[in-house]
Structures are given as C-alpha cells and as structure tokens.
C-alpha cells in the first residue's frame, strides 16, 4: 500500500512538472521543471532497483545536460523567445493528436494482460554497477565502443559549430 501511495505521489509530481515545463512561458522555468522531472524519474529508477542508472541520470542529465541548457539560455538571453503562437489551428490539433497518442498507448497497455503481471522481487545485486559494467564490457562491448566514437564526434562537432568567437557553447 505504501508503495502505491509513493508511486502516485511521485507520478503526480512527474506529470505536473512535465505539464508545467510545456506550459510555462519562460525558458529558464521550463528547464528547471525539466530538471525536477528528471530527478523524479531518477527516484523511480531507484525504486525499480536501478541505482546505477539513477545516479547517472542525475549526474549526466540533471547535472550536466541541463546546466548546459541553462547556460545557453542565459548566455543567449533567449528566455522569452516565441510563445505558443504560430499557426492558429496548430495548438488544438497538437492537443488532439497528443490525446490520441496517450489514449492509444494507454489502451494498448491496459488491455495487454501480460503487462499486468508483476514479476517477483529481482535478485539482490540487480542493477548494481558491477553487473552493468561487466555486461557493458562483454556482451555489449561493440555498442559501448560505438558510443565512445559518437561522443568524440559530437565533441568535435560542437567545437566546430560553436567556434568563430570565443569559448562559447561548450
């Protein structure tokens, strides 16, 4: 029961912050709501027995990616650029499509009986860093290496794109 209450509480926060992020006018506030959302999802990861992923989520997403976002927003002074204006029919259409998307997926999830079955508690060292590290460097070593190449490319790309004046944008 306590688990269920915790779930609904956290889920409420997650949905509220996501909505606030989409609705709020100010890009800095949006970024902060997204940070809150990311932290709540990290708490879900902890509840789901994935401490490693949870900590990486906070360190990389909330700690680095979103700081970079804030940095760029503040540096460009782009807090209030562009509201929800644009094409007039776009907002209701987007809302309808979004509702259809959510409705459809919810319908599929709720109907599938396999999705309802809670598998018993997992083995104790489930998401621990050692297990993840071992799997990463044995079975999934190829994607792991490709990711490192991707990161290198991204770094070079960011440097090339943001060049021409000073050390901005990373």
């Amino acid at each position: 029961m306590g688990e269920l209450i915790a779930f609904y509480l956290l889920a409420g926060i997650a949905v509220a912050t996501a909505l606030a992020m989409v609705i709020t006018r100010n890009a800095v506030h949006s970024a902060l709501f997204l940070v809150l959302n990311l932290v709540v999802v990290a708490v879900f990861y902890l509840l789901l027995g994935a401490p490693f992923v949870a900590m990486v989520q906070i360190a990389v997403y909330a700690g680095a990616v979103m700081v970079l976002f804030l940095f760029v927003i503040m540096m460009l002074g782009a807090e209030r650029v562009g509201g929800t204006t644009g094409l007039r029919w776009q907002v209701p259409l987007a809302g309808a499509l979004g509702a259809a998307l959510i409705g459809g997926t919810l319908f599929a999830f709720l109907r599938a009986p396999a999705g309802l079955a809670p598998v018993g508690s997992p083995p104790v060292p489930f998401g621990d860093p050692a297990a993840i590290g071992e799997r990463l460097l044995t079975t999934y070593v190829l994607p792991f290496e490709i990711t490192s190449v991707l990161l290198l490319i991204a770094m070079i790309g960011a440097v090339v794109l943001a060049r021409d004046s000073g050390p901005e944008g990373k």
């Binding site: 992923v53 976002f69 809670p118 994607p143 794109l161």
Partner: protein, 100 residues
C-alpha cells in the same frame, strides 16, 4: 501493488506531454527540452520493463540513451548558438530561410 502497467501508463503520459510540447512550442530550446522529456519517458518504460522481466538489458539501453542524448544536446546547443548568432532568435517560425 505497483504493476508494470502503472509505470508504462506514466511513461506514456510523460511521452505524450513531451510530444504535445514539441508540436506547440516555438522556442527551439524548449522544443529541444521536450525531446529530452520524451527520451526520459522512454527510459522510464525501459527500466520498469527491466525490473519486471528481471533482465538487465533495459537499464543498459537507458545508459546508452543517456549517452546519446548528451551528445545530441552538445551538438544541438552548439547549432542553436550558431543560429542565434546570425538570426538573433531561436523561434523556429522565424528560422525559415534557406540562406544562413
């Protein structure tokens, strides 16, 4: 008892909110954040599935998604800075010219 369906439903909800935000917002930076929100929702579904199926692969996927997202943000924000430098805006409606 919190079942997998709870988590999947939450994930679908978050993904949907992100998708709607992606469609209605005009600030490229916020559109970007909506993409992050959707990635994050998918990550939640992966970790939940990983827990309920007893497989580690879901968590590994999220790990990879995190890395790719970090790379994507680095390049995307660099692009945004470059665009802002020439156009003085990040409103996607005003970024319709083909010449830089």
């Amino acid at each position: 008892m919190v079942t997998l369906t709870h988590y999947l439903a939450l994930s679908a909800l978050l993904f949907g909110i992100g998708a709607v935000g992606f469609l209605i917002r005009r600030n490229a930076l916020i559109i970007f954040m909506c993409v992050e929100l959707m990635l994050n929702a998918a990550g939640l579904a992966f970790v939940a599935a990983s827990r309920y199926r007893g497989l580690l692969e879901g968590q590994l996927t999220v790990f990879f998604v995190l890395t790719v997202a970090a790379a994507e943000v680095a390049v995307g924000l660099a692009l945004m800075v470059a665009i802002f430098r020439t156009k003085r805006t990040t409103n996607v409606d005003e970024l319709s010219g083909l010449r830089g």
